[in-house]
Subunit: 334 residues, 2 copies
């Protein structure tokens, strides 16, 4: 079984009928360099909506009728590529399918260990690496800095905040709802959490960061970014990681009206792609794994069982009602 | 005689009646640390409108009734500050007045030489230093890069482009009108000039910079910035220097809708203030002076005679009908 793209959700929210279920088996023979893979677990990422829209040139272009792309972990059933053997766990670009034929290019063999899929799609996957490289290489936090992260209870935001604590920052997280906020401060060690659903962000930031924001990690965009840009400190680093506020809107929404504060504050706003740091990904994974082992980072994820639930699960990500990493379990490794 | 601020031009264009002419002499005695100065020449800068509005916390706050502040060159008549003697030429924050009493703090003695006022207010003054530090420290051009500068015929833009040529860049300037564009390519050595009044900027940039913009110097903001942000290259540096499009508008105009391209392009957008580089200003002046002597940089300015013309002259700056640096000559040195 596989889910195929039925419509592009450009300028609107995702809908269940953006996908078609296809129960035909995929039994084509392998070409040179291909793998037949049993999909084990899939990652849910905001970028997936952009892939469906072919927005921004992020990834390989999609066509209507393609299997919905997703990062994931699979197990090799049959290999026509050197370096990959049946039984190997692999990580890379897969899709919403029980079984797939994929190119071996860009696929990484994952060492077998308990919970390998969850670990490699979460902390050691794109969420953790995005947090690690974005914060250390772009945000450049220094001990004593005030770090503000929005979307703080999400897969990336929750790791960014914890990495900020490791770097000696005061960390303020912004999230929606008391449960998420309590998790940030009581379990992840954030210094403060602001519940944007019940608190006004601008005055709360003024209270909690009277000297301004040194590192601003933005997963959200829109008015939220504007409110935070109003409070940046001299030489602030604004890391633009995501723009969940804009992914579901029609046309190009206005940019941050306060962008000119980067002049008054001699600040910078910078974006990045994980692929900029490909040669250092192993280093990033090593560091994150060490901090996990020392108990300095906690990973939280929610695993939804069953490929049949994929469309609904991805929609939940955009509604923001998940905490930590959202994963779809398709099968157990053999 | 002096011109005083009569009204704050917030959210609208400058008007002649934003200033009151005051013919009373300023004959107060000097306090410790003060200088009595005869004003010789004054700089016209976009920031002056912001000073009248107390916008952005750029400078010392102004009050209605204050002498209109302006950077300038004066000659010391009487000194109550160590290090300053009658006859010395000084540079720093002065104002629209024939004679002023000013604090010696922040004033710099300028070596006497022919044309010292013009040189020190133009290439060796804030315009030249802004171009030098903004480009070398923030824009970080590399040989072969494509540099695009808007407001290219202005005091800062015209130097940015010439510094870009020195750094080995392909330089594309955007300016209004054929005369300005011809000056950029024929006299300053820009590779291309786009006349935004008669040409469409976006398709022209696509033609002239098919591989994208590596360094974007923005003096303008608004739709112009948006159009250029759409064409940035991977790892582009966007230097935000000014926002002439926004200085005359009501409220906060929308920011660049395309800001999110810094994510797709792993690019950065950065602002700065000249005061960030104070300890290196002498170095900057040395470099600029050497390039001027070698004929690798040309300075162009327009000197308007007479303090009585100050309000009208500053208004011209915002209409964009000057080429190069716009200066007001108040008196000759004795």
């Amino acid at each position: 079984m596989q889910w195929r793209i039925a419509a592009r959700p450009t300028g609107r929210e995702l809908r269940a009928d953006d996908y078609t279920r296809d129960d035909r088996p995929l039994d084509a023979p392998l070409a040179e360099g291909e793998l037949r893979v049993r999909v084990l677990m899939l990652s849910c990422d905001p970028a997936q909506k952009g892939w469906m829209e072919n927005a921004g040139g992020y990834a390989a272009p999609t066509e209507i009728g393609d299997i919905m792309p997703a990062g994931g972990i699979g197990q090799v059933i049959e290999s026509a590529a050197p370096g990959f053997a049946p039984g190997d766990l692999i990580q890379g670009s897969l899709g919403w399918a029980e079984e797939m034929i994929v190119s071996a290019t860009g696929k990484r063999v994952v060492p077998p260990e308990p919970d390998a899929p969850r670990l490699n799609l979460g902390l050691l996957g794109s969420s953790g690496l995005t947090a690690y490289f974005g914060l250390t290489r772009i945000g450049e936090p220094r001990a004593g800095d005030t770090l503000v992260v929005n979307g703080a209870a999400g897969a990336v935001g929750s790791i960014v905040g914890q990495l900020g604590k490791i770097a000696g920052c005061r960390v303020i997280g912004i999230a929606g709802g008391e449960t998420k906020c309590r998790w940030l401060t009581q379990e992840l060690g954030f210094d403060h959490a602001i519940d944007y659903k019940t608190e006004k962000v601008k005055p709360r930031i003024r209270e909690l960061a009277p000297r301004g924001i040194d590192v601003l990690w933005d997963n959200v965009g829109g008015d939220m970014l504007d409110d935070l840009m109003a409070r940046i400190a001299h030489k602030a680093r604004v890391v633009i990681c995501g723009g969940i506020a804009r992914y579901q809107q029609q046309g190009t929404p206005p940019g941050p009206g306060n962008y000119f504060n980067i002049v008054f504050k001699s600040a910078r706003m910078e974006g990045f792609l994980l692929s900029d740091f490909t040669s250092d990904h192993d280093l990033g994974r090593e560091r994150l794994r060490a901090w996990l082992a020392e108990g300095r980072i906690k990973q939280r994820d929610e695993v939804v069982d069953g490929l049949e639930n994929a469309p609904e699960t991805l929609m939940r990500l955009f509604r923001g009602d998940n905490v930590g990493k959202l994963l779809i379990k398709v099968a157990e490794p053999t």
